[in-house]
Amino acid sequence: MDINKLRRMADQIATNFAAIGHDNAVLATADHINKFWDPRMKAQIFADDRSALSAIAGLAIEKLARGADPAPQTRATQFNKVDEVGHSDAG
């Protein structure tokens, strides 16, 4: 896939989380990519040059590439448990 598009997507996520503080934004960006990206997209950006990414996105990708499985950082990534009805993310 077009690596520039993946970089742009990662940076966009990081930029929009920046307001919650650097460390939290790194975690939230990692959590977001972990929950929503397909394995081939993840594999490609893990193999990419970190310096091509913004600081927050680069650190987030580094965490994931090293096998991190971050806990949910926003309620959008806290999905329903098997028997739960509360959450929905209907588009």
Partner: protein
Amino acid sequence: MGFERQKDFGTPEVKSDETVTLTIDGREITVPAGTSVMRAAAESGGDIPKLCATDNVKSFGSCRLCLVEIEGARGTPASCTTPAAQGMVVKTQTPRLQKLRKGVMELYISDHPLDCLTCSANNDCELQDQAANVGLRDVRYGYEGANHLSKKADTSNPYFTFDPSKCIVCSRCVRACDEVQGTFALTVDGRGFASMISAGQTTDDFLSSECVSCGACVQACPTATLQEKSVKEIGTPERAVVTTCAYCGVGCTFRAEMRGEQLVRMVPWKDGKANHGHSCVKGRFAWGYANHKDRITKPMIRENISDPWQEVSWEEAIQFSADKITAIKAEHGARALGGITSSRCTNEETFLVQKLIRAGFGANNVDTCARVCHSPTGYGLSTTFGTSAGTQDFDSAMDTDVFLVIGANPTDAHPVFGSRIKKRLRQGAKMIVVDPRRIDLVKSPHIEAAHHLPLQPGTNVAVLTSIAHVIVTEGLAAEDFIRERCDWDEYQDWARFVADEKHSPEFLEAVTKVPAHIVREAARLFATGGNGAIYYGLGVTEHSQGSSTVMAIANLAMVTGNIGRSGVGVNPLRGQNNVQGACDMGSFPHELPGYRHIAGQEVRELFENDWGVILDPEPGLRIPNMLDAAVDGSFKAIYIQGEDILQSDPDTHHVSAGLAAMDCVIVHDLFLNETANYAHVFLPGSTFLEKEGTFTNAERRIQPVRKVMEPANGYEDWEVTQLLANAIGCDWTYTHASQILDEIARLTPTFAGVNWARVTSGEPLQWPVNDKAPQGSPIMHVDGFVRGKGKFVVTEYVPTDEKTGPRFPLLLTTGRILSQYNVGAQTRRTGNNIWHSEDVLEIHPTDAENRGLADGSFARLASRAGETTLRVQVTDRVAPGVVYTTFHHPDTQANVVTTDNSDWATNCPEYKVTAVQVTPSNGPSEWQEEYADLTAMARRIANEPGREELEPAE
């Protein structure tokens, strides 16, 4: 049910805590105070003769047919305008009344053609019924005097005629247009004998008038004066089946009135919970596509998209598809396969498609059109409220004091709800519109918004944050509500953020282009004006900060305490009929039905045990990523049910490159749509009239879809999906959609209490329907948020990368128009085309003049993504610097121009902001010419195997 008109109670239902008890013809009845004597009589089984009264509009008291005698009262008052009173004793049938009524009816009939036997309304005419009801036997006045019998009919509207020779000037049509639709297109012109119903000015006919063809006047007409042309052509219906409209997310219910297997007309169902007997031009009239000659009813295959289509049997088409899927899976793995579910299809069909992709194909590469419309709603409301469902039912609007409509145009895109909003505005509610265009809710007959914030496209977050700034810094926040319902510490963090001077309306005015004083006044009104409700559409979500805007909206609702009761709330207006249902049914690549992430082991085990398969634990690709992966060579085959991504998705060049790169594209649709130009298999689909199942509307209301005729292609859509599934090795044995619904209920907690019997019983069901809420949940978050406390989220404004400059100095924004629906595949094949036969570009007079463009001239619209040509419409509805067009016509293809920018959280495309240039043009763009050639080539169908002659599909 057999055919009978819906009961008409004569005057509208009254809601009151007080009741009165009266006696009518010896029957005692208790009704809410304020109920008319006419309605009380009807509710107790009586039937007072009437002509000018109908229960969709207020009483009028003009026809003098509904006279009654009331003990102790003088004269014979009209029962429609007389409120029932405690202890009242009423007689509705006496010799005196009969004489009076007969006299009135005699006058009506003396100026009415006596052609009942050949009239198209014979046996479906209230005038005829009431003449019989009052016992009219002859007319003493003769028919030779002055009359209106030679008046010519107005047949200009494509769907109904206006025949003044049959008009009794009861004004029901005028009042329906005013009170129900709110367009005020009709009037009674002239006085006395010269009184005539008129649409607009003397020179106007129905088509050229302001009439929006909603059909309210036709439904209200008690004679054949305003009548559907289809009734004249086919005859009156013999049976009626209640079903749900397949257009927008309002979810109107209709009586499909049938003659044999032929649909005669769609009449809005008065008991419909979403529409209360109202309709729009699409649902009411634009169903002709179901039998259009373009419809494909035989399966077709081809090895290469340059080949002509070959019509084949279902068995051959399914086997051809299965062989390709199986071979690709063997060579490239399951993750090379995927599919798109349809928000136009039923819950059951959508559920089955995602099951096919996950359990049959073995991948999670499933997505749906919500990706390109309301996916940011999912992200944004989940983050703030814990669940993304719209918080209200539509009826809630009638308790709203201040509407805040952002990036939505309900009178065009959700017209029946738009009429409800207008009705509430006429009752005195206030309106704030945040939109780059001057939509009809800003100003139209009898309504005017208190404030219009004509913001620069792409600055939603800045405007909403500046509104929040005013509320917080002027001490207007609902702190009691926030302390009780929200996380106070998070609120304080957020309040500090928005209170910063850089978020003030004055500071941001340079970016938003909205005068600061208007923002301040709007903020004050929303915070202090009573019940405040926010309604929004794709003008919010289809931006690079769509998700942030949704969170900013949720923040605004919480800071003003507008959550958890009738009249308030946050309400995403869903575009398609079943977009809510498609999402509920697990159409997103990262989650199974019921919004449970695919990575959850317990969740997967539930489905694995039920389906007897092992599921991939990793999220799949979203639609734009599927196309990226196809270009890259790792995504090879797709099954697309009821979706035309080539026309609807952004950056057409990219979509076509992705489709062209795939080895197998299976399109399952009614027509050879634009996507089918790149397909190898075409599986004919069935219309909503040909299937059973359920749709879930924007209020989470689960409603039945009923089969009123056999599928022209031979199968309901879920049956086709089952054929494909079984051909690749599944062992599915569904024989009715209700069995799929049972499976949904078994596996999806929000649907736990839902079944076919309850859905078809007419019981209102708004999910969640479960043990805690057995009757469903019309309003969400009543006593507290569904999950924990309300969460204020800081939303920093991040300008879009899409910026104007010397090459592309204007901003394009796109949207819908009333008469057309999305890609137009349905509405373009109906009479609706008369109102909008081509996409046009709205441009401000200053911008037009600078470019030498006059109204109606052709222009080239170009962006960095591509270019097309279309006519311009010079109008000040758009601000200088902004242009607007629709995307209903493939030969214009607005999405050639839109870019691949998308929302940061969900990849929802940034349709609403594209930097463009507009210049005069004298011919189609290169792309348009090439695409016309491609379409002609791609739609060839071989007549018979072995013959060389080919014919186009259309």
